[in-house]
Amino acid sequence: MNKVRFFAPENRLAAAINTPDGILIQDAVSDADEQVALAAAESAEKMDESLELIYRLAAEAAPGRLDGLYQAVREVAGLAGLAQLPDLGHAAHTFCSLIDLALSTGALPQDQIQVNIDVMRLLRRPARFADAERTALLDNLHGVLAKARRTAAA
């Protein structure tokens, strides 16, 4: 018979947090928000390095490029929000889902890659677009992903 043991390990984090003094939680969060905002330009620089890699990998036909592409797009999805570019982060997340699907089905048509790349390029400079235009761009990517999912399920 398999054995399952239930137990309550010591919660050292709770003990540390409960130590007297410390700082107000709301002050800690606002200070951290400020720090993240101050790092936005550096986050954008790091993200641009990944974008350059994405543009290069998207144009190549090297074997195994989807794995590299997935990692680079995932990096952008994580950094775009820190760089104050939430729509680009959203686009990158959708692209990640599309590549993830392709990694299981084995196929990702170049036109589907290209539309994602084009939208990411546009959303890198979001101030050029009105809210409705950015929403339309993202809806377009959702449509591409939904179509790929339907094709994979068929």
Binding site: R12, D21, I25, V73, D100
Partner: protein, 189 residues
């Protein structure tokens, strides 16, 4: 009188507590790629943490944990192209390194590949946070993990926090896995 964050229902739900937090004495391991770990360090320094340790690879983290005790691990799900899931699973199942075996783990990820979802669920993390991270969400999860009273469990195939958030029986028509797998349940303090 100020509110204790660990007793605050709000802290674990939608609002940030108005209480205090003291991370002066908490030893925290941050695992991410170079820029990610820098951002995490800035956030935790703002939270008052002084004992921060940075690891930019699974090897660095493993090496650190064999020699030091930590109170919290905050880890990106993929570091340098390597999955963190296996590392966390190894940590939870390593009975020879008991000092960190059940240290709370908050896992960060910008996207979870479909084939990894089960691994993420079953590796023994305490909480999952979707990137992009925000200080407010990180704070909420730190408070939640500290307040958490879920028991841990250990079976031949899993070690970590009880994954059930509700104490509910199996859904209608689904057999109880404890009976299917013939588990003998033991509870220890």
């Amino acid at each position: 009188m100020e509110e204790n964050p660990l007793n605050s229902r709000a802290a674990s739900e939608h609002k940030i507590s108005v209480g205090r937090i003291n991370l002066d004495y908490a030893s925290i391991l941050l695992m991410d790629n170079a820029w990610g770990v820098e951002i995490l360090a800035r956030i935790f320094k703002s939270f008052g943490a002084r004992r921060l340790h940075r690891a930019q690879s699974i090897t660095d983290a493993s090496s650190y944990l064999t020699q030091h005790q930590v109170d919290l691990i905050v880890a990106e799900a993929m570091i340098g192209g390597e999955d963190t899931f296996q590392f966390i699973r190894g940590l939870r199942q390593n009975a020879e390194a008991e000092h960190n075996r059940f240290a709370p783990v908050i896992l960060l990820s910008a996207h979870s590949a479909s084939e990894k979802v089960a691994q993420a669920r079953d590796c023994g993390i305490n909480f999952f946070v979707a990137k992009p991270i925000s200080p407010k969400v990180v704070m909420k999860r730190v408070l939640w993990v500290a307040k958490n009273t879920r028991q841990c469990l250990e079976t031949p195939t899993y070690a970590g926090p009880d994954r059930r958030f509700r104490n509910a029986p199996p859904p209608p028509g689904v057999a109880d896995r404890r009976q299917i797998n013939a588990y003998k349940v033991e509870t220890t303090a």
